[in-house]
């Protein structure tokens, strides 16, 4: 049962962080990062199968693989930025967290440019 494994790892990490945080806050932060990485690695294999299904659906809908790739990249950027920003907030660095979020927003917008151009093209083609 993967879910039990994940929950147990999460609970252990939480207890350790709570215990350590009072004495060594910097170690608590490292523990938090390590727990996040372990949990991510546990579900990494399953993400591949979900992406395959999404790709299959996109092929059926006639959506180009370049658009789907862009969407997946954007989702990845959003997750990574979110994780980073949360860690920064947990460490008490709200300003850095805000900067991470800002940078990720810019990256998402840059990646969205081809899709915006495609929307414009498609709408202009509709006009006779």
């Amino acid at each position: 049962m993967d879910v039990i494994q994940i929950v147990v790892i999460g609970l252990i990490a939480t207890v350790l962080i709570v215990v350590v945080k009072t004495q060594r806050p910097e170690l608590a932060l490292l523990l938090s990062v390590a727990a996040g990485i372990i949990l991510f690695l546990l579900v990494l294999g399953k993400i591949g199968s979900i992406i395959d299904i999404v790709r299959d659906l996109a092929d059926r809908a006639g959506i180009g693989s370049i658009y789907l790739g862009t969407i997946l990249k954007i989702i990845g950027i959003a997750y990574i930025a979110e994780f980073g920003a949360q860690i920064c907030r947990d460490a008490g660095e709200g300003a850095v967290a805000t900067k991470i979020e800002f940078a990720s927003k810019i990256l998402i917008m840059v990646l969205a440019v081809p899709i915006v151009v495609a929307v414009l093209d498609a709408l202009l083609k509709l006009v006779p």
Partner: protein
Amino acid sequence: MEAIRSLVQNLIVIIILAMLLEMFLPAGEMRKYVKMVMGLLIIVAVVQAVGELVRWDYRDEIPPLTEKNNEAELSGIMAAASRITGNQEQKALEQYKSGLSKQVRALVHLHKETPVLEVDVKVQSGRNEPDYGQLKEIILFVAGETSSGKESEGAVKEGVEPVTVQIGSTIETDEHIENRDSPAGAAEADLISMVANFYNLSTEQVKIIYR
């Protein structure tokens, strides 16, 4: 109907895909940005699918406003194509006639008694005729004249006025005199018959002209 069916299928798949992708979105601040880009992607997919249907309608149902220009260009292209086709057919016909006359020349050379100088071949050149390209007539140009000065059936003199000899009340011309019993007349008749039989023609379609 097929296009509408395809459009509905595409839309269903796109909606399911959108729902699936929405489940992946992070819960925090970044969610609305990712959602906006995903919305754009869905718009692209839907507009493309609808656009294909709209273009299909225009082509099949409503003639476009710029149809006249296209027709003018098309008529020019069709006229050029027709002209090129006519030229090519004319060349093919000339080549066919040339080849056929060479073949006839080779055939008549087997007939040693009558020296043939030139061969002219006439074929049906009307494109709309059912027997287009079919052999109509073969004219053999023969050197000199027969020893008896008389011709067989189908033989015609060229450049010589018909000579009328009037003796008493009887009028005779050279062209209408037939003498199949003479050796030269028999040779010409034999040549005509050979060529006519080879090409499955009647003997009237094979002519001999003296030069």
